[in-house]
């Protein structure tokens, strides 16, 4: 690895602009990774290790990595961080960077499409299961409400997500 101060500055500036304001507070203690469900599930570049790579200036090198999309937004990292880094915000800032560069994983595309089409980022057909337990087959949510779906789609189309050209 080559230490390139220009690249390091660029990575830090980018992450801070996208909301990861505390990145420079990190002392690499690893407490965030110790409790991160994403790290536990095997995503290599989350929390401590993501911050390390960013502080090394490897913003472009890791742009295709899908780890950031494994973040469950539980925010335990923020609770245990002794230095006020707010690691989840760094992860989300990196996601925003990836999104703006149209570099997100297929898992992310699927959930975005789900959101656009049903109003739920995570969606599976509920009818069969609901029928088994004696509930009405259709949920009282946007998934079965044409008007609500249109409103959600209007909002998405009007925002930065719409500009990505996914839908």
């Amino acid at each position: 690895m080559i230490i390139d101060q220009e690249k390091i500055n660029e990575a830090i500036r980018t992450i801070q602009e996208y909301g990861g304001h505390g990145i420079l507070n990190c002392v690499q203690c690893g407490a965030c990774s110790a409790i991160c469900p994403g790290v536990k599930a095997g995503f290599p570049l989350l929390c401590r290790n993501l911050i390390r790579h960013l502080l090394n200036g490897q913003l472009e090198e890791i742009i295709e990595d899908s780890s950031s999309w494994g973040c469950q937004a539980c925010n335990r990292c923020t609770e245990v961080c002794p230095q006020g880094v707010r690691p989840q915000e760094v992860v989300f800032a990196f996601r925003r960077y990836q999104g703006n560069q149209l570099a997100f994983s297929t898992s992310a595309v699927t959930s975005q499409m789900n959101l656009y089409e049903t109003g739920h980022a995570v969606y599976s057909d509920p009818k069969e299961l609901r029928k088994q337990v004696g509930l009405p087959e259709e949920t009282p949510t946007s998934a079965f409400d044409e008007k609500a779906r249109q409103e959600i789609q209007a909002l998405i189309n009007a925002g930065p997500m719409g500009e990505l050209g996914l839908f």
């Binding site: 690499q28 203690c29 690893g30 965030c32 990774s33 110790a34 335990r76």
Partner: protein, 677 residues
Amino acid sequence: MNQEEEAGMAKVGVYVCHCGSNIASVIDVSAVRDFAAELPGVVLARKDLFMCADSGQELIMQDVRDGLVDRVVVAACTPRTHEPIFRAALERAGLNKYLFEMANIRDQGSWVHGQDHAGATEKAKKIVASAVGKAYNLEPLEDKFVEVTDAALVIGGGIGGITAALELANMGHKTYLVEKQPSIGGVMAQLDKTFPTNDCSACILTPKMVEVYNHPNIETYTYAEVDDVEGYIGNFKVKIRHKQTYVDWKKCTGCGDCASKCIGKAPDEFNNGLSERRAAYIMFPQAVPKKAVIDMDHCLNCGGRDIGTLPKVNQKTGKLILAPCEKACPAHAIDRSIAYDPNGDIQEVEVGSIVVATGYQVMDKGWFKEMAPESPNVITALQLERIISTTGPSEGKLVRPSDKERPHTITFVSCMGSRDEHFHTYCSRFCCMYMIKQARLLKEKYPDLVINMHFIDVRSAGKDYDEYYTGARKMGINFFKGKVGGLEMLPDDKLRVLAYDMESGENIEYVSDLVVLATAVELPADATTLAQKLGLQFCGANFFRELHPKLGPVETATEGLFLAGCCQGPKDIPDTVSQAKGAAAAAAVPLAQGKVRIEPIISEVITELCSGCGICVPLCPYQAISMRTTEARPRAQIEMSACKGCGVCTSACPSGAIVLHGYKEEQIFAQIEALTA
């Protein structure tokens, strides 16, 4: 020649300092010098790379000797550190040292306006003009001297206080040692062994405790607190409050019979709550003095007899009905008929200097919610110290608190509350080393014990410390770089450790039987009360503030008041002992000199102008003003040795009858005029 004419002749010399690059990298020193040269009253203005260096001082002294200047302004750093240096130079050159004024263009200029060079230069000019205005009006003043009481007070009976007291006493000074617990010894008495040599804490401490207690120059007061301090260097009046023991210590032999019969129970502070003690108790077997006390907060007032009442008489036998503790004492030392008095007995002593060595506490585990504090098997390192100590509740056997069984896996977690924005941002400094010590002691005794240690990083700076750490790795103790994120409680009072291995970048999860938290070192809450009584200041980390972080590590802003040990900041035993010896040496200086100099920057009443209204008397924070009858009328009078020169009386006097020397009205007005010009 009257005063005005004399002042009119003042020849002010201005000396602007570069302070290397400290000032010159921001402020245009030449421009400030040129500006100063044009100020009224200024006869010459010079600049130098380091005014405080020998060459810079010589510059001033030569001008004084040549008769060119008779008032000196140095535009440089802070008078807190450098005013004495320049005053001494003036004195050597034969000029009254109070004809000196400092313009602080570093702290108030270059340091705070680093981004605005032009603005900082303009501000420096104003600061210099203000100092010149004052210097022009300065008058010579003479130092005053007061006698010193040849005695010292040491507050706190831990290893720091014990060391300081012994040093002072061995130098021949009467020393009072005050400790709030029933025994001296402090935290060190609770420790098993000490790093990096593994010598037994008690074996090296208890002889010192005995030496202090029996020293002919030392009066040791335990179960006592400093109630109030008045006065100043050389002449402090100290009120010591002796808490009630209900045991006559002259008779008590320390046999412990009262404790064995007492039924009142309380958590044992000496064992950090791992066991119980009785309300009547001796603090620990090696206590010095080995005397019993009755703790009224936990006394059950046996037999329905309140403290402070006489025992009832048995109607049949005619004998007194005594409480079990009274009955058990073979020396008849316990007297429960003494009335309860929360204030205790006040004793007054006079001392010339004071060493504060009040020590520290460690944070409670309850602060760390993610670390399963409700589990009995999550303990602080100081609790583990009691578990592995032969004088502890399990007599040195490693057992889990929950079931008294021996653990198979033990986990050490560093930096709990230290280096943490939520609690303390500082490093507690000796946790890494004591955890390694505890691990090594356990591994030696129980080779099959699995010991996992989790650090952000290992800090082992100190003589023989790193070798002690690397030695621990060779013993088969497991070290992991990475902070523990949390603990989860499992059945059988076991704990799941959620950790991370920085080097492999992988999570670590395992089940542990006992988890030891190295909780942060901090100042005890009651230290704040003491600080208020003594006039001590706090630093950013909330320890007592020393005079200067490098050059005044044992002194404080109050002359005659010195610091030793962890009350000034976290430090281990060798550092505490070193600082205590330093503090004792510094505290002995005024005692050895026999008199101390009082700066003449103090207030004085012009009796002819005083109307005798008495407004100043209650305003004085130092009780230095009293009303005396002069020519049959009341007039205010200021006790020179008690006055600190704060100026409150001067500004409050409706008759303008009080002057503060060194800050006279015309001097201050000249400063204001220069600043607003």
